[in-house]
């Protein structure tokens, strides 16, 4: 089995390279030929090339330093509004993802049992032919809907959608329902746009509801918030944990999980009751104010105090401070708003708060739709799709946009064969094995599949359980469609040639499309041709854009006072929702609570990792903390637990072992785990078996309106166990400091 990559080979490979590898001492692929031609790098292969980070979805502009044909350093691109010359730790470590010794660099076809990790290398032709034939077989045996497609937001997603809709399947899974459905749907119902832009230039007062900007970093927004604080802007931060954002905020409110809605309703109660709102804005641009005013009368500060654990005086004071800041105030709508089934309500309340304070056009702006002004290859309309979606959108969940979908429900639909049995799963740039709640259930669901194909750059957990792995070129090795930001369209271009056989998604999807008879949806010769067609309307050459890093676009649309809602106004009360039998506006909804001996299990990002995709990055591994379960110090003491103890954490659906961290920095009724640890793929030499996965514990709850998953609604019990568990455990590097 010479050309069979077994788990041991992976481990060997890692042992060989892993330990000694320093960031710069890496394999040396050719400098990007294109870059050489365009003179961005000289004949020695030295130079600087601007492109875009993809270590997370914020996509900061970067400038890659190339030496002898290797990327040796990444710096933030000062001209890019998302980086402004800075990169976060993940962005800085990006080249280590590209040079990860565990990279998958040729197509792999499974030879052993699923999860056994035995694959053989294959040519692209063989792999693509196999994938295409399997997909067509499923299509003609069970219909196109039996083929499920899922992918997390990325720049080649339009082509991914061509693949699935062209193929004729309605079953489209994205990360969104695990992430921000509550926020997006709330914004759509209120403003008729997914997410208004925020502006920190004039802001004077900010309420952050669990938006941990100092750890869940978005370089430019983190920068803005930090400088706002330096300038004396007051930040009120709601989070059951004392995060690094809490430590910078003017006021930290350790609110009881799931009760943010009550807090915001009480703010509305005071601001409306005391007529502190912007009456002219409300009267001119909103509908449903009276219903809202009537509804929130019940939500007095004393009422909210009972529920949230925040004193009534505090709530009242904050309402007054917020109102005093008037249109310079901002109630941040957060990002990962997938906490409780009432998170949609919370989001509605936040939009209402912003609306009545009249901050539109001051701290909140209309967002212009992506891609405006860019061209694209011609393509025919998609075939009509009659089959129901497995995730119940819209037939069970009328208000969830198709492009958002409900990933966890999709998983359940497959699991329960409801309304029909799916047979194949095409996954790209996504790690559902870890990102969807209830890992065991997800793995069982995988078991029901005849065929799973994954497009990834490393052997992540999902790939580990797949039948075919198609290796994409990393973000430093490939082109992607242009990304419009403000009045510029930025380019991602290869700063080095792809290593091994890796190919761009643009290439992979096209190749597959042709084999599936969908050539019409991929009418571009190659990546550069695709970009040229995008640039056509702007009349700039690709060469120029490659040189500059971006193309100017027709000026940004100026402030708009019309909203894409049924009423054309900001809808504080939504007829549409009401008619469908939901609350027309924010209403209190009691979330479930843990039993006396249980804890809320909280999840949340750490600054050194992205989701479930960077834990094998040796640089991030080197500089991030050992994953532990945080528990309030006093509670731990009562339970006879101390930092460093091994504990078993048990939920309704799973159980894990992890080291305990006793800390003052969390509410007594909560415990916290950082996501993305506890990888089960042995193809990840650095990440395998390091820490534990909270996804094993998470119970699946879906908010009926937005389809958002409720990630904080899982309750666990924690027990001490003797000594280290038998599952593999590894210590992080120690730097003696």
């Amino acid at each position: 089995m010479t050309n069979t990559i077994s788990r041991r080979d992976f481990l060997k490979l890692g042992a060989a390279t892993g330990a000694v590898l320093a960031a710069g001492q890496m394999l040396s692929p050719l400098a990007a030929q294109a870059a050489r031609e365009s003179g961005q790098i000289d004949q020695q292969g030295d130079g600087y090339i601007s492109s875009m980070c993809e270590m997370c979805v914020w996509r900061c502009g970067l400038i890659a330093k190339i030496k002898g044909g290797r990327v040796v350093k990444l710096d933030g691109n000062p001209q890019h509004p998302h980086s402004r010359g800075n990169l976060c730790p993940r962005g800085q470590s990006g080249l280590m993802n590209t040079y990860d010794p565990d990279r998958v660099l040729t197509p792999l076809i499974r030879v052993g049992k699923r999860g056994e990790g035995l694959f053989r290398k294959a040519s692209w032709d063989e792999a693509l032919d196999l994938v295409a034939s399997k997909m067509l077989e499923i299509k003609q045996k069970y219909g196109p809907e039996a083929m499920v497609f899922s992918s997390t937001h990325n720049l080649s997603q339009p082509l991914f959608e061509n693949l699935l809709y062209g193929f004729g399947s309605p079953n489209y899974g994205t990360q969104r329902s695990l992430c921000f459905n509550a926020m997006i749907v709330a914004n759509l119902m209120t403003y008729g746009m997914e997410e208004p832009g925020r502006d920190y230039k004039n802001v004077k007062y900010i309420i952050l509801t669990g938006r941990n900007l100092m750890e869940a970093i978005s370089t430019s927004e983190t920068h803005d918030l930090s400088h706002a604080i330096d300038a004396g802007v007051k930040v009120v931060y709601l989070d059951p944990r004392y995060t690094k954002t809490a430590s910078k905020a003017g006021e930290w409110l350790p609110i009881r999980p799931g009760t943010d809605l009550a807090f915001h309703l009480a703010l509305l109660n005071i601001i409306i009751g005391e007529k502190l709102y912007d009456q002219s804005f409300v009267s001119r641009y909103t509908v449903g104010f009276d219903e809202l005013a009537k509804e929130v009368q019940r939500y007095t500060p004393d009422w909210a105090a009972q529920i949230t654990g925040i004193p009534a005086e505090t709530i009242t004071r904050i309402a007054h401070e917020f109102a005093a800041a008037g249109k310079y105030a901002l109630a941040h709508n957060g990002w990962r708003t997938s906490n409780f089934v009432n998170s949609f309500g919370t989001q509605r309340a936040i939009t209402a708060l912003n609306t009545i304070i009249g901050n539109w056009g001051v701290t909140l702006f209309p967002a212009l739709e992506e891609g405006a002004g860019l061209g694209s290859p011609p393509q025919p309309p998609y075939p009509r799709i009659s089959a129901l979606r497995l995730d119940g959108v819209p037939w069970k969940f009328p208000f969830v946009p198709l492009k958002l979908g409900i990933f966890q429900e999709l998983r359940n639909g497959i699991y329960n064969a409801d309304p029909y049995q799916a047979h194949g799963w095409f996954i790209s740039r996504q790690n559902p094995v870890l990102s969807i709640p209830d890992r065991n259930k997800t793995l069982e669901t995988f078991g029901k599949m005849d065929f799973i194909v994954t497009v990834d750059i490393i052997m992540n957990d999902t790939a580990w359980f797949s039948d075919v792995i198609l290796p994409e070129a990393s973000y430093l090795e490939r082109y992607d469609p242009l990304l419009p930001v403000g009045d510029k369209a930025f380019i991602r271009q290869p700063v080095i040639e792809p290593q091994g056989e890796a190919k761009s998604a643009l290439w992979i999807y096209k190749q597959l499309g042709e084999r599936l008879g969908l050539a019409d949806y991929f009418q571009y010769a190659d990546e550069e041709d695709y970009l040229r067609q995008q640039l056509a309307p702007l009349g700039v050459s690709l060469e120029e854009v490659r040189e500059k890093g971006y193309a100017e676009m027709p000026g940004e649309g100026k402030l708009e006072y019309s909203w894409n809602t049924t009423s054309g106004k900001v809808e504080l009360f939504s007829e549409t929702l009401a008619n469908a039998g939901f609350d027309g506006m924010a209403k209190w909804e009691e979330p479930p609570m843990p039993a006396a001996d249980q804890f809320y299990l909280l999840t949340g990002k750490v600054a050194q990792h992205t989701q479930f995709g960077t834990h094998n990055n040796q640089l991030l591994h080197k500089y991030s903390d050992e994953p532990r379960l945080s528990m309030n110090a006093k509670v731990a003491a009562q339970k006879g637990l101390k930092s460093g103890d091994w504990v078993a954490v048990t939920s309704e659906v799973g159980k894990i072992h992890i080291l305990l961290e006793a800390t003052e920095a969390i509410r007594p009724d909560c415990v916290f785990m950082a996501p993305g640890f506890g990888h089960i793929s042995k193809g990840l030499t650095t990440a395998f078996g390091f820490g534990a996965s909270d996804s094993v514990l998470h119970v699946t709850y879906t908010d009926p309106v937005s389809g958002g998953q409720a990630l904080s609604q899982t309750f666990v019990s924690v027990e001490k166990i003797a000594g280290a568990p038998n599952e593999p455990v590894r210590k992080p590097l120690h730097l003696g400091e």
């Binding site: 000694v20 730790p89 983190t222 110090a633 003052e664 509410r667």
Partner: protein, 254 residues
């Protein structure tokens, strides 16, 4: 030549460690050592009244660097621009600098077969290549690390303390510590709470070292050489006895 300087603001640092990663990549630091690390106060206080501060720590680039005066082979040198450079071609890995540095800055490559020191050098090669800032300062998302001329940075430090006295304690770490440095820190809490070393002497240990090595040793040597010669001659003069008729058993005829 104008001296370079850093200003690091603990009230801004969010402990994201972008600076640590940036340094490792820029300077190709071996996976088990580092040139820069985080010093922090951990979480202090009792729920819910908590505090937490952090700041990255790297070579202070002292005005009169102890490491330079101590280095066995002169591998550590001071540039006109105040940068303390390290010559990995000369270093023998004796680790004396690790003891000489009051800030415990030089780290050793314990994982290497032929191990060297690694120490912040202000990204001198990067600056020479014409890049505006060292890697750590360039990437910091909150501008907690700022880079410029030593004068500017010191002025800026005092300026911030003056403008927001409620935000900072009135102490610029590095202004006088160890005889003055090129790296300045300001912080909302006393620096020992951040785990910084408390440096009483405003005089660098290098100063005392020079007294011992450049003055003490020559004096001792001179004194001994002269003394011994003198005594020997004196003895020769007074004691005529030839010392050739020794008995093998070491006892002497008198």
């Amino acid at each position: 030549m104008a001296k370079y300087g850093f200003l690091i603001d603990a009230s801004r640092c969010i402990d994201c460690r972008a600076c640590l990663v940036a340094c490792s990549v820029e300077n190709n630091v071996s996976m088990k050592s580092t040139r820069i690390w985080i010093k922090d106060s951990a979480v202090t206080g009792e729920f819910p009244d908590l505090k937490r501060y952090s700041a990255p720590f790297h070579c202070m680039h002292c005005a009169d660097p102890s490491c330079v005066s101590a280095c066995t082979v002169g591998a550590l040198k001071q540039n006109a621009d105040g940068i303390i450079t390290y010559d990995n071609k000369a270093c023998i890995g004796c680790r004396y600098c690790m003891y000489a540095c009051p800030f415990e800055v030089p780290h050793f490559q314990w994982d290497q077969q032929f191990a060297l020191i690694t120490k912040c050098d202000f990204c001198v090669s990067r600056l020479e290549a014409g890049q505006a800032e060292p890697a750590c300062a360039a990437t910091c998302p909150t501008d907690a690390i700022q880079f410029g001329s030593q004068k500017e940075m010191l002025a800026l430090a005092h300026d911030r303390i003056e403008k927001q006295p409620e935000r900072y304690i009135n102490h610029v770490f590095g202004e006088f510590e160890n005889g003055g440095t090129s790296t300045f820190y300001i912080s909302p809490v006393p620096f020992d709470q951040l785990g910084f070393p408390t440096i009483e002497t405003t005089e660098s240990p290098a100063h005392f070292n020079r007294i011992a090595t450049e003055e003490g040793t020559p004096i001792i040597a001179g004194a001994v050489a002269l003394g011994m010669t003198g005594i020997y001659l004196a003895m020769e003069h007074f004691e005529k006895k030839p010392h050739t008729d020794r008995k093998p058993n070491g006892t002497e005829e008198k």
